[in-house]
Subunit: 341 residues, 4 copies
Amino acid sequence: MSETSTKQRIGVLTSGGDAPGMNAALRAVVLAAEHYGMEVVAFKHGYEGLLNNEHLPLKAADVLHVLQYSGTIIKSARCPRFKEVESAQLAAKNLTELGISALVVIGGDGSFRGAHHLSQHWNGQIIGVPGTIDNDLYGTDATIGYSTAVAIAMDALDKIRDTADAMDRVFIVEVMGRHAGFIGLKSAMAAGAERMILPELQKDKPLTIAALVKHIKRVEEVRGAGSYVMVLSEHQWPGGAVALSEQLEAEYSMPCRPCLLGHIQRGGPPTATDRVLASELGVHAIELILQGKTAVMTGIKAGQMVEVPLVDTWTKKNPLDANLLRIQHEIFNPVKKSARS
Amino acid sequence: MSETSTKQRIGVLTSGGDAPGMNAALRAVVLAAEHYGMEVVAFKHGYEGLLNNEHLPLKAADVLHVLQYSGTIIKSARCPRFKEVESAQLAAKNLTELGISALVVIGGDGSFRGAHHLSQHWNGQIIGVPGTIDNDLYGTDATIGYSTAVAIAMDALDKIRDTADAMDRVFIVEVMGRHAGFIGLKSAMAAGAERMILPELQKDKPLTIAALVKHIKRVEEVRGAGSYVMVLSEHQWPGGAVALSEQLEAEYSMPCRPCLLGHIQRGGPPTATDRVLASELGVHAIELILQGKTAVMTGIKAGQMVEVPLVDTWTKKNPLDANLLRIQHEIFNPVKKSARS
Amino acid sequence: MSETSTKQRIGVLTSGGDAPGMNAALRAVVLAAEHYGMEVVAFKHGYEGLLNNEHLPLKAADVLHVLQYSGTIIKSARCPRFKEVESAQLAAKNLTELGISALVVIGGDGSFRGAHHLSQHWNGQIIGVPGTIDNDLYGTDATIGYSTAVAIAMDALDKIRDTADAMDRVFIVEVMGRHAGFIGLKSAMAAGAERMILPELQKDKPLTIAALVKHIKRVEEVRGAGSYVMVLSEHQWPGGAVALSEQLEAEYSMPCRPCLLGHIQRGGPPTATDRVLASELGVHAIELILQGKTAVMTGIKAGQMVEVPLVDTWTKKNPLDANLLRIQHEIFNPVKKSARS
Amino acid sequence: MSETSTKQRIGVLTSGGDAPGMNAALRAVVLAAEHYGMEVVAFKHGYEGLLNNEHLPLKAADVLHVLQYSGTIIKSARCPRFKEVESAQLAAKNLTELGISALVVIGGDGSFRGAHHLSQHWNGQIIGVPGTIDNDLYGTDATIGYSTAVAIAMDALDKIRDTADAMDRVFIVEVMGRHAGFIGLKSAMAAGAERMILPELQKDKPLTIAALVKHIKRVEEVRGAGSYVMVLSEHQWPGGAVALSEQLEAEYSMPCRPCLLGHIQRGGPPTATDRVLASELGVHAIELILQGKTAVMTGIKAGQMVEVPLVDTWTKKNPLDANLLRIQHEIFNPVKKSARS
């Protein structure tokens, strides 16, 4: 890396669970940086690379045609030791020695906690870019990767519908979401699922198999024989879809088949929504640096770019869209009728 | 159709060019109507079916698993004769005789002109639901089908990139959009196209081949040999992508290959975005009827359901997103640098 | 159903687990039957419908545009009671009373056992069409649905590769195959998996976790850090991918994530291969009827249509392609070198 | 490149129009070569790179995860000057100086003519691997890329069907195939097209618009109103789908819409069929070198690996599958009935 450059130098890393569109965000960061006369240094493997001084320059040529791929070309990792003071100090030292004046962190809430921790020990600018399929960050209507995860879950549910309809069968598809029902709600609505089991819905009224069986039977009464597809958010049943399916068969003689999508939800070509969002957020991150901002996450609210204090992103809660929840849970629920009717 | 039903009866039709997600909107209309105790009558082939009294009842069972398919199960059509006074009067007569008190029209600006025309001759409620891939309706951030059309165009551009990169070649992909660059802009950004030719950009400065060739050559100077992918909105060049490609070869000896996506952009499984949007708008249409509204289109602005006078939808203009245009046209343009740099 | 038709009447049903392409086979049966002047009666829900006399006429108009969809428009089911003599007698009676002279059974080995059983009690012609994703029928190089199942498994593995590469992680993807490794082998090769666990490979040498961990570590030694993706055929590990993954973490501290594709492998648009195969086999089934054949399955061997005694299809074994197995297991195995090298 | 290696060194290049699966073939060549103790040198941009001595070593690490991408990581090109004697001599000189004893050429008939030309001036071994979407090489049942091109054409046709059905409209989709109807036939059958216009069908009886209009009208008579989708092979109508569509409207007032798929057919993730075929052929190419073969193409016939003299690949003709042609053109043609019926 040239020592003599007079350009402003910024760092970038991707951290935590990877999300489709991280590459598009990286590309936007690099293209915007070059547009404004900055140069970019990337750290590999998230904060691990920052601690190990594993870095490389990123230029336009390196990122031109990466936006159509999921994953992250600079790799990601979780880095538990980054919570320690020594780590933040080491990171600060490395950044300073490289002449980096601003760091862009692409990741989720754990990554932003790390960024906030670093900000206590380094006086450069830090900008967060929301990259997580879970959409569970306060201050932005959407995170990079969420749209793609929903698309993949919907596609799986569509496929399940084909076979479920052929056999008039019950299915459980387990989707991601950590502790939030965003993927579950949107994919359930998009695929016309008969049932969704989300943390937000089960919070006050934990699911019982008896209630589930009752719903399945009432749907059959109302509709006649047919398929019944259920979306189960992770962590909402001990043992997940596999265990719930076995219990339905064992305890209620109700044939049921499980699918566990797992990390499939993080791959494949990102949706246009994720690529465009990542492009906007990546550019905005660079423009926030130009404006002298720090310790904020860039986000999108009502179609506009916004900035949010990093601390807010994990201390405040991003609620599910109330209208979507109402529609899918009540209006499209075959066994709920309006008081009016 | 039972004569003795005491339920409120509403009509629904899909009109004009079909758009992915129209079936999801139909499903939402029917499920919401049943939820609120109404019954639904569908007219086939748009206004043609309204004039020909070609109708059928639609119940939940008819629409349960249609949201994953493009097209429209009640068919669509263009109906030039609906502009005539006699047509509106006949339609009004048919609606009245069927005991229909409200009509939901799913379509684009032509369909809404028809709806407005009908409203001069019928005193039932009329609610428009924006269904067009072009996204060219005032009053809503998105129309049903737009997201899917962008996804298909992006997928085609991704495929073109593969072969363009293998051969270091120039390509032109022609996309739809009638007289607006929404599909062109968003797919170009999502696919990282080197160039986009949109009505909004060419309006004041018509494209010349010389300028295009100059850009292609400057991009090659800046980047080195590589692929160059161009998105061309329809109606922006006489003869479209095929003619422009031939001219580039004939006049400038620049090998270039065209693709004409055409109606491919209207098919395949709708995106989650379109299905969810269609679901929200379809439900909202029914709820606007319950609220006594008429001659309005339901739309989404900044994530919220809104209503817009039908007349506004085609008399006012829906502009491209200025930030996206700036990013794709300037910041991601390899041959434009900021004044700062 | 007209009693006075003088046309030859044939029956058709889809039975057992549904497979993508069954609709294309149905369409081919109906179009070929009409071409040759026959008429077609379909039984719903497989042998259940034959016993319950649940039938409907199928004409060209009913099947024109179904070949792009998975599932089966006449539904499928398993029918354990069909093994009883009384069932075969009842089926024979129903077929005779409907004036059906030949029955086409689209399904897998269980369905063909049923067909053979029926042939002991009914003197009409019976033709089997191989429809199962498992490809485990003797006498045909491919079964309808196999290609689509492989395509879906490969797509899932591609998506897993994206995230596995981003995090340098180990993944297990569980695929279908009943007791044969066809889907496992072909999807593993198509996706470049580092490891496959197939019944044919484990038969003589059951898998141990210790051996698996050893392979993972040797691959890392040879290649350096990177992703490691494993394809696990169902029934090859107690508890499947979920259990194996947990054991790898618990016993060897090796982080690993599971996916369980399940019935996703039976949905979505069938591949061109499956649609074309189904079309050829469906036509051939009708032409075998014209030739007076019975108690045979139509199949494809070396690109040619063949007929196979029904009994052979489950009493003889369809082996994996030896060359594919050799290539994927030895030549592409990063830790096996030829003696020559 | 180490001068002192005692390993056998082989060369590889991809030439002519790129085809999905070329990367999978490259990977197989490299992995098999390493398995057998050889090392691989790749030339970039096909024969151009061979003439310009533009080469790089390829090792397993370079090709591990490329099989899921279309295009070719070593780029391809057409090279008209390679027909000259001086070019072949220069190529021979470059190969000899690099110590290369065998060359693998991945491409189509033009590339194999080049390989044959080179074989007159160089005494190393030359093995062809069939890589072209057109499937027009004698001696192999399938070429790398053909399956993917069919899949993409089918997907486009499926999408067209959605909108064609919604509007009861006529569509023309133009597909590739150079001078052979393989892609046209298979995609037409897979998508259930009403009509296909292939070189093999038009050879003796050129298409007229009058005959086409007659067919469209007869189909409508037989079936009733509905969609009519036509697959047009390239070079079968002056001006292609766009011109034919305009003429149908202008001369017969028959509304019709065109699509021109173009190079879209060469991109996206290769199908499992293409990846597995490319893997087998790439390995076989190396094994043919070990067996001392030269001036042959590796191919697949009836599921077995075969070798074919290079000269045969373009001097003999690969016919369409007669059974598929018969089925799609006669049995599935709604206006042709068997003499029997």
